[in-house]
Assembly symmetry: D2
Homo-oligomer: 303 residues x 4
């Protein structure tokens, strides 16, 4: 039985680790807050009290962390994954981070005889729970093949998109599309509401045609119910769009709508929405359209 | 057997009329260019050589025309539908036009004892051929019920969204979302291409997660193959976004991304792309990113 | 002594009429609210109690009205200017209206033997008081020459820019630039404030270089003092940008920043800012940046 | 007589150094290409063949360099200014660089007993030649006072805007406004041209009202003559807007128009316009409006 060290048991990591347990893997989980680890143990996993414990003896190590510096430290830092992993270990980083950081990590791994894949995911908390994530994988094809079976336990669309870092580049594109689609949906709903159209009927019929999307299907209900607890936080999506903007600028490619929605999301965050689900773009559109709502202008809180 | 007069046998109207024939209706079709009518006859329909012929004896009249003035003239003009329709006829206008025009038509119909629905559709040529259109219907609930069976022959999602004009308002929102989603997809593809990612793999994995959409599924293949023959012409989508902009401005609602993509689509048209499929937004993003392509700067041609 | 009928004694019209009186003209003023007329009489003008009275006996008639329908009615309506003006009268419309309406008025005037110029102005209330307006004139060159001396009393830059309607087209471009420049200034001020820079010093030094502008010189002080009473109302600038958007769309020209600032101004208006000076774009940028301010989200108030 | 070491004799530096010579200063100039140094000598300056030579014996050192890394290396690098400057030397960096780099340089200077000011300028090549630059100075007030007389020789508006780095922050805001104003002017010109208005007349009358600006006055003539040789290169303005975007994002302030014009400028650069004057934004607007022009889509050339 393959042993998997799983580091990072947050909103996404916890259900992914649970699905690996459910698929029969020996999962040893680590998280900074101990409660998260206990929850995994309750589902049949094992507990690690340090990165070292999660890594030692594992054939596969999966990391699911918030941002580039987190991954850099957990993998390459003192007492990190590379310090404890045996040669031949397969590191699968499912975090969404900068492509150049993924490439640097892959290089550092290679130098230690560790195999590395960047494997960011899309599908949100629901996809993580259902095990239907879409996984965009960068790295060596042989390593992709080796990881495939494990990834089948957490995702339903698993594609090798190129060398190290390519997974992150595709994830960046994914985040551009998702942010934009959320904003378009928000604009459509405010537009329809102002014209007195019943929103539930509209969402139903929009979903059946060319305007249909995973965003509409998964996020419109929460928008209509005005539930904006995350899910995926505005702060994180803002971070991701920073990656997109930098990569687009460096490559000299135009992303007019992408840049525009990045601006809108930054503004939502500045207005105190950083901890809300990214579907709270609806609140921003409402404000811009003159409606008062629960989005408190509270700059201090978000910085 | 219900007799249906079908006026407007273009890219969308022709397959819709064919599906009605296939569902067993007696369809008598009219189009300005006779070839279109002959094609319907070849599929089992009957030919009308005038609006009058298509309307007389029909219990249901369906119109599928390019723009507001076309519908105004065909319905309310001299020798138009209202001139020839008997009281009780059900007029279903599947065209995408201005909501206020739909309301005016409904009122004119009511004065003549004709029942009217605005029933614009989404799903594109493919949806029309497959009979899987999404149909957003405005008008009286009783008339909606009366039209439902007929509409089942051309669409799979059929929803009553409000009184006369509401169908058009929802279609406007639909067009906002579709244009924006096309542009986001185009930006993502150019971004990925500039970073050396294999586009087919990227499209596959993007489609499996939160970035998935009907636009991605139906339009990405043509974008990758660089096939931009319509389908749905830029000229028409530009017209539709004019409706959206006017309605948003009148209602005081903010549609920042909608307004932005309207600007980009207008620019694509100004550059000679009016006759291309709206997925040609890809060409515009490429140009903005410094790539030469088949989008000829040829202002005269588009005006 | 030339007799001038002056119709419309508002924020701009009142000081313009006063300057004509000061230059020695016989000015007979009309305004719907009588108090405005009395104020002109106090400065040496004469009172008219109807359009007819203002027009009869006048060699020159100047109109300064809010919007296209106002000018249409005052000039072409029942009991309007054209009903009472003698042949050879010179009508100078200083209002900012749609170019096509100006052309229609010119044509109606010609049919009556009345000479017409569209002569919208720029420079704001301050420019009107100082008599330093910039006046963009459309119409026949001979009529322009005939009006020149009168216009010298209210403006310092007076330019013939083309045939009937051309003055309005240039004014539209003027309004595009002014709105955009106000927004850029607002963004710069919020940006500098967030970085702890002393705004008065910044405005001084910005004004001395390539960032200097009439907008910065005339509007930055009020922004720093947070005085947003008009001046030029957001509602009117919103109306003007509607003219710009329509004209750009009709001509197939791209105005990406113009369209964007039109969207921002519409949003400011939707948020209840319609009655504020257009420099209140500052409040909008502050809101978007997370600051609470006196811009009440109060949709109802602005519609 | 004060001795001034001047490092960086490019488009801006050369006329600034010449003006210092003209004001009676002993100027010893250094530039990587010797020809530039010879030109200064011909105007009465002295030649340095290294940074060391320019710095030794100078009471004031002025640097005018393209970008942050250039200044970092010239000031803090091996054999750089700090290596050779005596304690008490006053370093005035007139380059436009990142505020944080300016702060780091100020700190490094302080550690060596060298006084430092960031003093970026605005006014373009014309302002540099005329000695009418606007200079935005960050640093200690006492050092600002000490530098004031020297700066009077190159600028006419010289303002202390805050501590180290504040000059750069104000310059960033300056560049935001300038880029936006250029774009607005370009949009207005293309709009007017499409409507058949005589552009020279329009520019004259626009310049007299609220749309007037230094950009219109200094850049419209070149736009009308279609002369786009720099002047100030698109590449450099693109670099500057990168500073603006980063600083705005870090501070959580919204700069919707600033972000939009940054996108347009990046696109102009991607299309091969990097070496043109920034007024070439006109070419971009023309292209977007469907006109063919000399802006060759030639991505390779600009990267």
């Amino acid at each position: 039985m393959t042993t998997i060290g799983f580091i990072g048991l947050g909103v996404m990591g916890a259900p992914m680790a649970a699905n690996l347990v459910g698929a029969g893997y020996d999962v040893i989980g680590y998280n900074r807050s101990r409660g998260r680890v206990d929850a995994l143990v309750a589902k049949g996993g094992r507990a690690a009290s340090s990165v070292a414990e999660a890594v030692r003896g594992a054939e596969v190590v999966i990391t699911m962390l918030p941002d580039s510096p987190d991954v850099e430290q957990v993998v390459m830092g003192e007492d990190g994954v590379l310090h404890h992993a045996q040669a031949g270990t397969l590191l699968v980083d499912a975090s969404t981070i900068r492509p150049d950081v993924s490439r640097a990590i892959a290089q550092a791994c290679r130098a230690r005889g560790v195999r590395a894949l960047d494997a960011p995911v899309s599908g949100g908390e629901a996809g993580a729970i259902e095990g239907t994530l879409s996984i965009m994988v960068g790295g060596d094809p042989a390593d992709f093949d080796a990881a495939h079976e494990v990834l089948r336990a957490v995702g339903s669309t698993i594609v090798h998109v190129g060398p190290a870092g390519a997974g992150q580049t595709v994830k960046a594109a994914n985040q551009l599309i998702v942010a934009g689609t959320l904003e378009l949906l928000a604009e459509a709903l405010v537009f329809l509401s102002a014209h007195g159209v019943d929103l539930a009927s509209a969402v139903e019929v929009l979903g059946g045609g060319l305007a249909g999307s995973a965003v509409l299907q998964r996020k419109a209900p929460a928008m209509l119910d005005r539930r904006f607890e995350p899910g995926f936080r505005v702060d994180l999506h803002h971070k991701d769009l920073g990656i997109v903007l930098d990569a687009a600028r460096a490559a000299g490619v135009a992303i007019p709508l992408g840049a525009h929605v990045a601006d809108l999301l930054a503004s939502l965050r500045a207005q105190g929405g950083g901890q809300l689900d990214h579907s709270a773009l609806l609140l921003q559109v409402e404000k811009l359209s003159g409606e008062d709502n629960e989005l408190a202008p509270n700059r201090a809180a978000s910085r």
